[in-house]
């Protein structure tokens, strides 16, 4: 991790986090979900899509289906894990891409006075669009592929990172050590990298964790609305949407994927909160 190594070394961070039972539990849950979803191919389980008309809508625990079977007789557990790969992948992709874009925009706005006003107004304008609304318009225009959903949601969440980076950059660039570096002839890109970015890595990491969670919720929302990625590829949101048709006799089809979304998002938010408290004690009060 690139956080200022003198104040919060990774070891110290881990110890800080380990002191909070809620964070540890949340981490365990999240790692379990990720592990289960991505262990599937490793374990050689590939036939999760196997259909069985006879067993369609089997309730949980019946006919050997731990979580039941869907309308095509496919094992719900297997599908949940398969869909998890996509849902988690989208969340991770969005949090990485929006961090990169947000850092770039925020640094430029914070460092170059001439770019500040136009970029800041652009950020304001983008933030005026509610996330799902902007995302679904983008997906409608570019088409519902996994890459497009990641791109659309990254555009939606980039302003959040850009704002934080810009605000921190404005403060840090006036600090004596940056002035000293400049007086020594260090070039701006190098100042940005070594002095600014390293010092704002923690708030970016915290925000990226939250964006991971929001992006998963937003993707689920898009898929639920039927405007997310192509329903051939299952995501947790698509599973809920598919389950709606059988809401009266197979409520578990909605309940399980919905529950997994909530669990993944909740644990990410708790981890994000824990990271924030551990990395910046001044912010701890604002939970």
């Amino acid at each position: 991790m690139a956080a200022s190594s003198s104040t919060s070394p990774p070891q110290g961070l881990i110890r800080q986090l380990a002191r909070r039972p809620s964070v540890v539990i949340a981490l365990v849950f999240f790692v379990t979900i990720v592990g289960a979803c991505f262990a599937l191919p490793v374990l050689g389980v590939t036939d999760v899509g196997g259909m069985s008309v006879r067993n369609r809508l089997s309730p949980p625990g019946v006919n050997g289906y731990m979580l039941g079977a869907d309308a095509f007789g496919r094992d719900l557990m297997g599908r949940l894990l398969l869909a998890g790969q996509v849902s988690l992948g989208i969340g991770l992709g969005v949090s990485i891409l929006s961090s990169i874009l947000g850092v770039a925009i925020g640094l430029l706005a914070g460092f170059y006075k001439r770019l500040d006003t136009p970029l800041s107004r652009l950020i304001d304008a983008l933030m005026a669009f509610p996330d799902i609304l902007l995302a679904l318009s983008l997906v409608a225009i570019f088409g519902g592929t996994m890459i497009n959903v990641i791109l659309a949601l990254s555009i939606v969440y980039t302003p959040r990172i850009a704002r934080i980076v810009r605000a921190s950059t404005l403060v840090i660039r006036e600090l004596p050590y940056v002035e000293a570096a400049r007086a020594l002839g260090t070039r701006t890109p190098s100042i940005m990298w070594t002095h600014v970015l390293r010092n704002i890595a923690s708030p970016i990491l915290v925000q990226a964790t939250f964006i991971f969670a929001y992006a998963m919720l937003a993707e689920a929302g898009l898929s639920f609305l039927g405007v997310g990625i192509d329903p051939q590829t299952p995501t947790w949101g698509i599973m809920v949407n598919e389950g709606r048709q059988y809401i009266d006799n197979a409520f578990f089809l909605i309940l399980f994927p919905g529950f997994v979304i909530a669990l993944a998002v909740l644990s990410l938010q708790i981890v994000g909160d824990g990271l924030r408290d551990a990395l910046d004690p001044r912010l701890a009060k604002e939970t």
């Binding site: 304001d124 679904l136 318009s137 570019f142 929302g221 529950f259």
Partner: protein, 313 residues
């Protein structure tokens, strides 16, 4: 003060201009010719050409942009391809459920979050505090469609306490229609109460640490009076802030909630517009909602002046 107002208004105009530009660019970015895309694969070349002329696509992009801006400023957001009606008219016809859903769910959210947030701050660190903070986090993590579907199934279908879905049909009176909004408003209100709760709690914690609260206590004032007279009065500002902040959250949630409960609102309209590739409606909804967001945030900023005499711009 006047300088601030002028600065703020100019900023707002710039942002609205950018919002319009983004909305314009977005639809132009769609791969392929917008006219043939809108008409679908079955359209004849003649039909495509007609639509191109109707949309002004045969003119240069600068002219199109200028026309678009000019029309938008005059309140003309184009014509819906599906309804063949002005977009503003289409939106206005679906505004009622959306507006009342937003207002009612905001009321629900405030009713849940404000008292709990204040209480949690007052009992900081207690089991109750921790539980309310965790519950708020849980509420923000459950997708609103899941809450909606569970409520719909249990409270409406099984127990019959609320209508299951819809908006009462064509002949329904105003109060009938509002009855259809209660369960959606509770659903959306619970999701949105999380942010308000955390915000109220945080600002209440700040206020409880202020000198005047300590002074009031030192004077021997009863705890109830300290909290209600001094602290609560000053919690107005954060509550106003959060209303501005939750607006975007509310709209996003409303899109999903309207879909769950099949309400004929703007959210349902825009999802259908996406499914039908009705770009003018998508564009119009984006513009109207973003403009509303900018306006709401301007109003909340100005309300600070009224609520807190210390704030000077």
């Amino acid at each position: 003060m006047r300088r601030y107002l002028i600065k703020r208004l100019i900023g707002m105009i710039v942002v609205i201009f950018l919002v319009l530009s983004i909305a314009f660019v977005l639809v132009r970015l769609a791969p392929g010719d917008p006219a043939s895309l809108m008409l679908g694969p079955d359209a004849t070349p003649g039909e495509v050409q007609d639509l191109r002329v109707r949309l002004g696509l045969d003119r240069s992009i600068i002219v199109q942009y200028a026309t678009f801006l000019g029309n938008a400023l005059r309140g003309d957001l184009g014509t819906s391809l599906f309804f063949d009606q002005p977009v503003t008219q289409v939106l206005a016809a679906r505004a009622e459920p959306s507006i009342f859903l937003a207002l009612m769910s905001l009321a629900v959210a405030l009713l849940i979050a404000a008292p709990i947030g204040i209480w949690a701050a007052y009992r900081r660190g207690s089991l109750g505090d921790q539980m309310s903070v965790s519950t708020a986090m849980l509420a923000a993590s459950v997708p609103s469609f899941l809450t909606g579907l569970i409520f719909q199934r249990v409270l409406a279908t099984d127990l019959g306490w609320f209508p299951v879905s819809g908006y009462g049909g064509p002949g329904a009176g105003f109060w009938d229609r509002m009855g259809y909004l209660i369960l959606p408003a509770i659903t959306l209100g619970i999701t949105n109460s999380a942010l308000i709760l955390r915000f109220t709690r945080a600002s209440m914690l700040d206020i409880l640490g202020e000198d005047y609260v300590r002074t009031a206590r030192a004077k021997g004032m009863s705890e109830a009076r300290v909290v209600l007279r001094h602290a609560l009065k000053n919690a107005g500002i954060p509550i106003i802030t959060v209303i501005g902040l939750t607006f975007a959250l509310l709209v996003s949630g409303a899109v999903v909630t309207e879909r769950v409960f099949n309400l004929p609102g703007m959210g349902n309209l825009v999802v259908n517009a996406v499914l039908r590739r009705d770009y003018p409606v998508i564009q119009g909804t984006l513009i109207v909602v973003a403009a509303l967001y900018v306006l709401v945030n301007l109003v909340t900023d100005l309300l600070y002046l009224v609520v807190d005499k210390r704030v000077k711009y």
